[in-house]
């Protein structure tokens, strides 16, 4: 992969001519990953050794620096040793039918994945690996991300070659299967080797920056807080003289108190602005690092998404693996028309269960993507059914109850101990409770579901509406669940068995729930799982 740092949509190295013959000669023997991975391993352990070294140096005073250095060096050496051992014990073999990876320092683990089971190969480049032009290769099997086979750090040329090889082998295996059944799919799989496709969605710098603004985050304070905790375990902050702190506050803060009312207000505002600024800056930095060069393409293999500034990821998801879609937004960005689109599938996306496909886009940009995936966003003239009215009443009572209980408790305690606050202490939670009740009542209007010929759709939320769509054919089970209260009142929650995500519709009247279940089951039962496209047959 000839990607330069920061280049967007860079192409991949073309396959060397005659690569097929070359590869045939290479298969079958166990190979090691690139030796530079050991270097990356020790650099990471240096990274991990810095903080403990600093705190060890500071906390012991006197000969502290030497001790700190000693600690740092020790951690680095141990880390590098394990990295080297791990590298030596990791081998991979490209076989005739499968890929085999053996790893493990103390306990050996050998995993083999047949080519037919590999959905696609994705390449990932964390920052350190990018510096050395290495790439981490992941084989996606669609059985769930945690167990996916990963090879850390091959050279980028080797990684690309491996990817091509696996794709070839997989297409050959599929062709054979197709020929056995007499299907004429061979020609299509030949065409399916294309890498490039049409761009469905891309984010340029302006869009990423706007996105970053909406991702306001005070995470930096959480990080500082965490560091503080960590530091506290190394040396005692209680040892710091109180008088010193007082003097510092007096000297620095004294002029604030002298400023008078206007000055104080201005300083408070300045503080607030500073917090806003830090929050926005954090949001922008995190978003830029995550989404830089975001490109979503439709290739012959499926949806290909590339993004990332430091860690560059390149993932392909076959269209038929998409089980459902989710359209989310936030309370503020909804006002400006920004939505986020994710695909629900069994594959994992860097820890989250749904693949984010268009994190920040207008509806006009999202609709074509949804269409390509084979879904249809719900419109206004669907056969919408609302949640039960009794559900609305119960939800209002249940949610607001806690506020009123809090109001009563606050009122009683303040009446006992400080009667002058009773009025406010009771009125505050009470008002919040009323507000909550109002919002719940309003939210009921926007909580609805509908069935059409092929899909089931659910919408909920007022401030930030969330839409979920799933293909009826790809559901696996339907459950109608009722608690003691809902049994009394005649409504239920419908849980749909979706592969790779949750799809529940609460507050459905019982009759309607049974109707929904009957219709969905009718669709499901007509097609066996093995006939579903791409069910791994």
């Amino acid at each position: 992969m000839s990607a330069d740092a920061g280049a967007e949509g860079s192409g991949f190295a073309a396959r060397p001519p005659g690569g097929g013959v070359e590869d045939a000669a290479r298969t079958g023997e166990p190979k090691r990953t690139a030796p530079l991975s050991v270097v990356i391993g020790s650099l990471s352990s240096v990274q991990g050794a810095i903080l403990p070294a600093i705190f060890a140096a500071v906390s012991t005073g006197g000969a502290g620096v030497l001790i700190g250095l000693g600690v740092g060096v020790a951690i680095t050496v141990i880390g590098s040793l394990f990295s080297y051992l791990g590298w030596r014990r990791l081998t991979y073999t490209v076989g005739e039918q499968d890929i085999r990876v053996e790893s493990g320092v103390l306990s050996r683990s050998a995993r083999s994945v047949p080519y037919e089971r590999i959905q696609d190969v994705s390449l990932e480049q964390p920052l350190l690996a990018r510096i050395f032009d290495l790439v981490a290769v992941k084989f996606e099997t669609g059985a769930g991300g945690a167990d996916d086979l990963a090879l850390a750090y091959l050279s980028s040329a080797e990684g690309d070659r491996l990817r091509q090889l696996v794709r070839e082998r997989r297409d050959d295996a599929q062709e054979e299967g197709a020929l056995e059944e007499g299907a004429a799919a061979g020609a299509e799989t030949q065409a399916a080797r294309g890498e490039e496709g049409e761009t469905l969605f891309a984010m340029d710098t302006g869009r990423i920056l706007t996105f970053g603004l909406f991702e306001f985050s005070l995470a930096v304070f959480a990080v500082l807080g965490g560091l503080f905790q960590y530091a506290n375990s190394f040396f005692d902050f209680d040892d710091i003289d109180e008088r010193v702190v007082e003097q510092v506050v007096e000297r620095q803060g004294g002029w604030i108190f002298e400023l008078g009312a206007y000055g104080q207000v201005l300083t408070a505002l300045a503080g607030l602005v500073a917090v806003l600024f830090i929050g926005s800056a954090t949001g922008i930095v995190r978003t830029v690092a995550r989404e830089w060069g975001f490109v979503l393409e439709r290739t012959a293999r499926g949806f290909r998404r590339r993004r990332g500034l430091f860690t560059r990821t390149d993932v392909v998801m076959p269209v038929h693996r998409v089980q459902g879609i989710q359209l989310t937004t936030g309370w503020l960005r909804y006002r400006f028309g920004w939505h986020g689109l994710s695909f629900v599938s069994l594959a994992q996306d860097a820890g989250s269960t749904s693949h984010v496909v268009a994190p920040f886009a207008q509806l006009s940009e999202i609709e074509p993507i949804v269409e390509v995936a084979g879904f249809r966003l719900p419109g206004d003239n669907e056969d919408w059914h609302r949640a039960s009215r009794k559900y609305r009443t119960d939800a209002i009572i249940w949610d607001s109850m806690w506020f009123f209980v809090a109001a009563v408790i606050a009122g009683v305690t303040t009446a006992i101990w400080s009667p002058e606050w009773t009025w406010i202490a009771a009125a505050g939670p009470f008002a919040l409770g009323l507000l909550n009740a109002g919002l719940q009542a309003l939210a009921w209007r926007f909580k609805r579901h509908a069935l059409d010929e092929t899909q089931i759709m659910a919408v909920s939320g007022i401030l930030s509406p969330k839409k979920q769509v799933a293909t009826r054919l790809k559901l696996h089970s339907v459950e109608i669940a009722q608690g003691p209260i809902s049994r009394l009142r005649g409504y239920a929650t419908v849980h749909l068995g979706l592969a790779g995500g949750e799809f529940s519709i609460p507050g459905v009247p019982l009759e309607r729930a049974r109707e929904v279940r009957a219709k969905v089951l009718e669709t499901i039962a007509s097609t066996d799982f093995s006939r579903l496209e791409g069910s791994g047959r």
Binding site: L346, L475, H476, S477, V478, E479, I480, A481, Q482, G483, P484, R487, H495, L496, G497, L498, A499, G500, G501, E502, F503, S504, R514, R517, A518, L521, E522, I524, A525, T527, D528, F529, S530, R531
Partner: protein, 183 residues
């Protein structure tokens, strides 16, 4: 809404209708579980209570001793009464609250006293089937059948309290159906 499934047959011996075409319907009666399940539940409740009662007795002896801080049997007595009520009453209620309905192409499992859950799994979506027996279950001739699906919610649906022969028959039915459909 005609009911085409057999009514509750004699315990443990239910001949499965093999060419049933009607889908499961809400109004139809649910097939009850094997009564051995009730006995197993009772035994399990007893086993749970024994350590609790022993603990209560120990606590009492620790507290009373020579001084008679509390009268003898204050803790253990009510616990014993509670245990007896639970052992007699609760398993019967749990047994009655469960049921299932099996048709030609789907299985419906109902469970729960307070929190009722009514799940239907079509055979066309079953990934694999387990039939398990714990030691108590083996002693009374019952088994638990578990259907695994590819969905995240209800990835496994289990149906305890089936007669073991019956459970194996059901498993073969489901397997035959899957084999037929995937050919």
């Amino acid at each position: 809404m005609e009911s085409t499934l057999p009514q509750t047959a004699p315990a443990g011996d239910k001949a499965l209708p093999s060419d049933l075409v009607q889908p499961v319907d809400e109004g139809d009666e649910l097939t009850q579980l094997h009564p051995g399940y009730r006995t197993v539940l009772r035994l399990q409740t007893i086993l749970v209570f024994i350590p609790i009662l022993i603990g209560a007795l120990l606590l009492e002896t620790a507290l009373t001793g020579e001084q008679e801080v509390i009268p003898q049997g204050l803790i253990a007595g009510p616990l014993l009464v509670l245990a007896i009520i639970l052992v007699i009453r609760l398993p019967q209620r749990r047994f009655a609250a469960r049921g299932y309905q099996m048709s030609a192409d789907r299985l419906r499992v109902v469970r729960g006293i307070l929190w009722r859950s009514d799940t239907v799994v079509p055979f066309g979506r079953v990934q694999h089937i387990d039939v398990d027996q714990g030691p108590l279950e083996r002693a009374f001739g019952i088994a638990t059948m578990t259907l695994h699906t590819a969905g995240t919610h209800n990835a496994s649906v289990d149906l305890p309290g089936l007669g073991e022969e019956h459970a194996r028959e059901m498993r073969e039915e489901i397997r035959a159906h899957i084999k037929r459909e995937s050919l």
